[in-house]
Symmetry: none
Subunit: 197 residues, 4 copies
DNA sequence: GTTTAATCGAGACGGTACGTCGAGTCTTACG
DNA sequence: CGTAAGACTCGACGTACCGTCTCGATTAAAC
């Protein structure tokens, strides 16, 4: 039931090479940073011809995108803990630590790429930004239904405020993104419904 | 009393060349986009030697940064309209339109650059991100003092939520950034104080 | 009847700068070699503006040519010792040592320049090559008149053979140019008249 | 038995590019002269990337040297005609005409280069100057053995006188280098043995 | 004594070519 | 036929000097 529409004979795609490339991407990234990372370096590090990379991806951004989704595969799930506060805190506390370290660097590089290349931006949004945001919106709507948020709030805009705050500090504003921050942020969201205390 | 530590002679910097470079930067940006914009193209378009650019700036990002601050010089002031709602709405409605068009493209390029180059990131934050954010914080603190916001909100985090939402849509999430959006966003902020309705 | 059509006042040429430039040329030559020697380096080393050099010379080759004639001023005279053998040996033994050391390097550079630039070649020939060769021809003609050489030899071609041998080794063929060589060369010339031994 | 130390695969060197570069070198030389000839112009004229030139040669002088040896490959052989006079005349009459025209310009440029760059000088001597001089020495020694020259002449110094005269006129002294000159020069050499006429 | 004009050091200017780098494409031989 | 190796064309990089052009500051002869 898988996609086995390969025509006929010929050597099949080498999974070994595939894995070596993704792994080499991470290594070169850690060694040189995203900007200095080149297809040539990845190929050399993976012991692979450049053509083998270009056959399966169209740019270093595409390789990096797959590396991100493969290597991180988002250890950051959305869960239903029973309360909006729990849902948000759990999610954010899992999400923030990963932003330091290599996967954060990778993410910053991919955002940069999406800002410089509209085609890649669509890809990046489709595979990364939009799905995760959609889950956050679901979580917030659940909070509204539970009565934890006033019904007049717009969950779309509220999602922007939550993720926006996180991304703003991650991408632009040099200030810490720690558990303390997560608590304050969630408190601000919950304050919206503290009308009749 | 000023810094007049210039040693002696030498031909003074040509303001004509200086202006021509900033202008050419905008033209090439519009023509080719930020990524494809090169120092060589800027030099050619300005009728200037490459050395003249490298003498005063260290990269295309630095030129672009000065072009942004010079050419836009922020038609987007912060004003005290007497109410938090007025302050926020006025500011946002002025800020959002500029994000479409060439200055938006320039801004996206500069953010990308700051994500790829830590040194430039500091420069960009120092000259652009931090000062503007500081003004927003002042505006929010004024709202707290006036009693338009509950005293337990953290103006720093609230600023992240406002600017974060704006930047998130501008940089990452493909959804409109219009006056309607500004109203909803401001409403969410003001909802924080609707406790005794 | 001379060209003293200078209009009027104005600061006169600084002899101090003039000398400093010639001296700096020798220093830079020794430090960097002829090829790497630049007008900019000479100006910097002499503590002089580039314009001051370009005002009086048109290229580094012209400066070097004047430096050569000034600093060497030909310690290599032609003398009438009474015999062809004495004339030739005296001249060659004086000429050869100078070809090692900085003045040799300068000379090589000037020859290179004259090979690359036809205009400079004329200048170089006029001021250096032709006058010295003419003196050698005089010396050889004197030898013919004295009967030290057979009357059928062409002094022009014979001069080429003497100076040619010297220049050939100096410019092209890596072999010593010492007193021993001078003796053998002179012997070959004198052999032409050993017909009736 | 041969030098087959090539490791393994990889696209082989393009002979088409190789030939195009040598040919373009001659064209640009004719068009612009040696000094104004640049690697960029050669690359453009050959329809080749600059990298391809720098991959195989280290400077325009190296390209020019190979162009000289390839394109001229010396239509100027040394032959044993049975007499010293014949040998010398034949050789010189073949050698002199090539010194006018483009190959002469190339040769002048290469000499200039060798005067400005010691490393290249060694290369130039090894591949061009020394082998040809060696053949001339062989020719002269043959003359001595045949008794056409007195046994006390030094063939090394005599070679300098022959080639020196030629190079002197070619490089330094602006006078014709024609068949007439060849005859006079050879006569001077032969005069050495006219002792018992 | 002022004026006048050419000089001086300094260094920015518009250019050209340098030699390097990486992108993305192509040609081999091997398995 | 997919692959590793690596040569190919292309074009921007940032540097170095070129020869020219301001500057403000000398400097002497001419007025």
């Amino acid at each position: 039931m898988e996609e086995l529409e390969k025509k006929a004979g010929g050597r099949p795609r080498s999974d070994q090479a595939h894995q070596a490339i993704l792994q080499a991407t991470m290594e070169v990234l850690k060694r040189d940073g995203y900007r200095a990372m080149t297809i040539e370096a990845i190929a050399a590090c993976a012991g692979v011809g450049k053509k083998t990379i270009y056959r399966w991806w169209s740019s270093k951004a595409e390789v990096a995108l797959e590396t991100l989704t493969t290597y991180v595969e988002m250890h950051v799930p959305f869960q239903d803990t029973g309360s909006l506060e729990g849902d948000l805190l759990t999610h954010l506390k899992l999400a923030l630590p990963g932003l330091a370290g290599p996967s954060g660097a990778l993410l910053r590089g991919l955002v940069a790429e999406s800002l410089l290349n509209e085609d890649f931006a669509h890809e990046f949004q489709r595979l990364f930004i939009i799905p995760r945001r959609a889950e956050l919106v679901v979580l917030l709507k659940r909070g509204i239904q539970r009565g934890e948020l006033p019904s007049e709030v717009d969950p779309e805009v509220l999602a922007d405020q939550v993720y926006g705050a996180k991304w703003y500090r991650f991408l632009l504003y040099p200030a810490p993104l720690d558990d303390n921050y997560a608590h304050t942020l969630v408190n601000h969201i919950l304050l919206l419904s503290k009308q009749d205390q």
